[in-house]
Symmetry: D2
Subunit: 149 residues, 4 copies
C-alpha cells in the first residue's frame, strides 16, 4: 500500500482537474477537489441541509458521490494522457453518521493495472471516519467505444 | 425472491412517504417516490445537466443515491412503526452509462430480519438497466442510540 | 434479467465442463457441476463435516467457492472459444446459516460485455436461500498476459 | 486506522484460538492461525494442488475462506466473553493470481460496534498482495437466536 506510483503522464494533475470541472454534479453539491497526487486524490464537500437524509445526516449517496469521484480520479492520475476513466463497481460501508461541517473523501490506488485499477477510500466527517469504499475503475483509451466493456 | 411480504405496520406506506419527504437531498436532485409496496419501493429522477459526470452521464453517486433510498425504504416497509432505518453497506455495479430522460431505481427485499434486512435493486435509464445494488439495512428501534451498532 | 443469451461458441458446454474438471478444489470439496446453459450455471456440494466453521455450518468461504465458480462459468458460457475467465471481484451477503445436506449455487449473467461480465448468484441450503453474490468476471483472450488487467 | 483497540475480554486470544480449532474447514485446507492481537488476526495456508482453480492458482474461494475467518476473528478479539461472531457480508477484489508457496490473510478491525464490526483484510501470495476484503461481522450474545438478525 506504500508503493509510490510513477505517473506515465506528466500532466496528470491538470488532466484530473480539468475533468473534475466537467463533473457538473460536483459544482451542484459544492464539492472541491483538494489533493491530486500520483495515486491519491482528495475531495471535500461542506455539509448543507439540502444534502441530507431523513435524520439530518448527509445522505450516503452524496458521501458515495465524492468517494467514487475520488477513487476514479486517483486511478486517473496513473492512466495515459489519451484515456478516460469509468467506474466498474464499488462497495461502501457506512461507519458512522455523516454529521459536521465538512465531509472529506480521500482515495488511494491499491493496485494499478492497464485495464482495471482498484482503489480504496475513506470518508471523514470533520476528521472522523464515517464511510469506506473499495472500488474498481476501468481505463478506456479514447477511441474505445463505451459499449465494449 | 417471489416471497410475498406481510408488513407488520399497516401504515407502512404513509410512514415511508413521510420519511421520504424529510430526505431533503431527494428534493434537491428532483427525485420522486413512485411505488411503495410491502418489500418493494421505486424512486425515479428525471435527468438534469447538473447531475452529470465528466462525460455527460448521470453520476454513479446520484444513481446510488436513489438506489440506496429505494433499498432503505423497501426494508422500512416491513419494519415496526416505531423504528428507523439506516444503511449498513451497499455494493453497486455500473452496467451501462446512465443516459436518457429518466433514471428509475427499483428495490426489493431479499431477506427480512429483525435487525438486518438485505435488499437488491436495479437502476434503469429510460427502461434499460444501468446499475444494480446489493445492500444491507439495519433497523433501529426509536430509543436505540446511533452509536451502538 | 430474462434476456436469453446467445452463446458465440457452440461448444460452450464442453468448454465449461472441461475447465471445471481442472478446478482441483472442486474435487477436493466434492462439488458437482450440474446445469450449464447459456448464461446460467449451477454447482452443488453435499455438506461434509470438514467444510464447516465453528458452529457446524458450512463455512462462508466454501459457499463462496461454489458461488464464485458458478458466476465465472455462467460468464464463460458466453465468451469466445479461445478465451479464459478470471474473477475481478465479488460481494457476498450471508442470509442464513448454511445447514442441511446439499448446498447449491445458481448463477446467472446479468450483463455480458466483451471485457467485463456481471453475474448474480444465489446459494441454497436444501432449497432455502442462504447467500447471494454479485460478481464481476473478466474475459482474457488466450494470448493476453495475466499481468495486463 | 491506527486506533489501538482495548479488548473487553482479557482471554480474547484463547477464545479466538479455541474457536479456530473448531473450524474444521481450516484443518481440511491446512490453514494456521498465526497472529491474534486486539483487532488484528493473521491466518496462513500453504498452497496445495488440491486448492487450485483451472489455471493452477489458489481458488478465489479458498483465499476468501481465510480472509473471512481472519476478519471474523479480528472482530471477535474485541467482543465480550459470552458472544459469538457471524459474517454478515464481505466483498473481495482479486488483485493478482494467488500463486506461490504460502497465502497469508491479515485482517484489521476498521470500526468496532456493539452489534456490527467492519474489518478490512489483505491476502498475500508469498508476500505480494493478491486480494483485499472489506467485511461486516455481527456479534451475537449467546442466548440470541440465529434467526433474529
Amino acid at each position: 500500500m506504500k508503493t509510490r506510483f510513477e505517473p506515465q503522464d506528466a500532466n496528470f494533475e491538470s488532466r484530473v482537474r480539468e475533468s473534475f470541472t466537467r463533473q457538473r454534479v460536483m459544482r451542484m453539491i459544492g464539492a472541491r477537489l483538494t489533493i491530486v497526487e500520483p495515486g491519491i486524490v482528495e475531495i471535500e464537500v461542506p455539509t448543507r441541509d439540502d444534502l441530507t437524509q431523513q435524520d439530518g445526516f448527509v445522505h450516503a449517496g452524496i458521501v458515495t458521490t465524492i468517494l467514487d469521484s475520488a477513487c476514479g480520479y486517483a486511478a486517473f492520475t496513473l492512466m495515459p494522457a489519451d484515456s478516460s476513466v469509468l467506474s466498474v463497481e464499488f462497495k461502501v460501508n457506512l461507519l458512522a453518521p455523516a454529521i459536521g461541517d465538512l465531509i472529506t473523501a480521500r482515495a488511494e490506488v491499491k493496485r494499478y493495472g492497464r485495464t482495471l485499477t482498484v482503489c480504496s477510500a475513506d470518508a471523514f466527517a470533520d476528521g472522523r471516519i464515517c464511510a469506506t469504499m473499495l472500488a474498481t475503475m476501468i481505463c478506456r483509451i479514447s477511441e474505445a467505444k463505451l459499449d465494449t466493456n
